[in-house]
Subunit: 241 residues, 2 copies
């Protein structure tokens, strides 16, 4: 197994609808928001954690390949270290993203090799534009309407902090390619498309976190059109599905 | 459980009567309006939150299926995690929109699977037309008439901000289909029709928020006629009701 190339795939993530990736409140501020987004403590700017990107793309790819069985990240081996039934199907996913649990059998570990892809945290690309409008983040207030009374039910309003639609982040994904690695890039491209078709971060089913990749560089041209990802149908075919 | 397809249903929401979906006032402006509508802080344009679309469509579908019991969004399990009586009836709704509370029993969670539908926030489609008339939003003043004096009662006039009739928004609904998912699209189509027949946002009973879906793409042709939804009767039949 020999390293052939390390691809750096870069570009812009455009936020199409407000994005909420939850952070933690270290300090309690008077008048502070209940559900803050994750921010860099040095600059106080929101960012997109690589963990959110990787986790969502991986889970979508797992659904697409039909290898989800117990709700956990897919593994090619069971607890006792034996090959699972879906070994061949899950192998590509595990090569790309890593195995759900540590592979103890050295023969299998050798066959899989190290995790190929890594998603960097994404920093804000158009900070000045956002700051000009005083809108690094927005506050969105939501309520659950009680079906009978027609007024606010279920514990009162929720106050959510979001990165507003129109924000842009710089992303960087690195893909390690070994000799005889095949098709892994096509799976990554399909996973990125699946993310565009669904959503990133919390509360997606009620409108949050629609994103689009643009100005993509470093990914093979056959997956791209004008710096954006080709259609879902095209990318499924290219991934052999 | 394997992902079969992700449908992207898009089109236009036409505002037929002034729409009020409340926003929050971060800053108090002199001469500002009492009840503002929700706006994107970057562009200052009003938008329709996916949460309003989803919440209203879900509650209408719950009424249609007769599964509303305590005023809260319907669940298939009770607080202790046991199947509720209406499990079979509510299952489709919960597959589509998500369960009201987290399902802890992994067997039931597996049967339901992840939430299938997500409603993106809808951005303004005819901004230039509205700006030309200087009417991104309108102000409507209302009063309650005192029954005896025949003049203004009940705390004086209410000043409401509304998106004016004639505004158009772009919508995008994504529907994840797993193998063996049946009838979910028909429920979504019926829910959209129910929304047209009622209203969106606040103060519906006094005239606000009549909307119509048009230029619909991505929904199966059997639900459509000239890019609009078929009649309520037709859609009820197609949903098996």
């Amino acid at each position: 197994m020999k390293l052939k190339d390390i691809k750096e795939i870069t570009g812009i993530i455009e936020i199409k609808t407000g994005l909420h990736i939850g952070g933690s409140n270290d300090e309690i501020k008077i008048g502070g928001i209940d559900n803050p987004v994750i921010k860099n403590p040095l600059t106080n700017e929101p960012y997109i954690p690589g963990s959110s990107l990787k986790g969502k793309i991986r889970s979508l790819i797992e659904w697409q390949f039909g290898v989800v069985d117990d709700g956990k990240p897919v593994s090619v081996v069971d607890k006792d270290g034996n090959k699972k039934k879906n070994f061949e199907k899950a192998k590509k996913i595990v090569k790309l993203f890593g195995n759900g649990i540590t592979i103890k059998n050295s023969q299998i570990a050798k066959e899989i090799g190290p995790t190929r892809v890594s998603f960097a945290d994404c920093s804000l690309a158009n900070k000045d534009e956002l700051l000009e409008k005083n809108a690094l983040t927005e506050e969105k207030v939501e309520v659950t309407i009680d079906r009978f009374t027609g007024s606010v039910g279920g514990g009162g309003p929720r106050r959510m902090e979001r990165v507003p639609a129109g924000a842009k982040f710089r992303f960087s994904i690195s893909l390690v390619e070994f000799e005889r690695d095949k098709d892994l890039e096509s799976i990554l491209a399909l996973g990125m498309k699946l993310l565009e078709l669904t959503n990133l971060g919390g509360n997606g089913s009620r409108g949050y976190g629609k994103i689009e990749f643009s100005e993509i560089k470093g990914l093979d041209e056959k997956y791209l059109e004008n710096g954006k990802l080709k259609s879902y149908e095209d990318l499924k075919k290219l991934a052999g599905l």
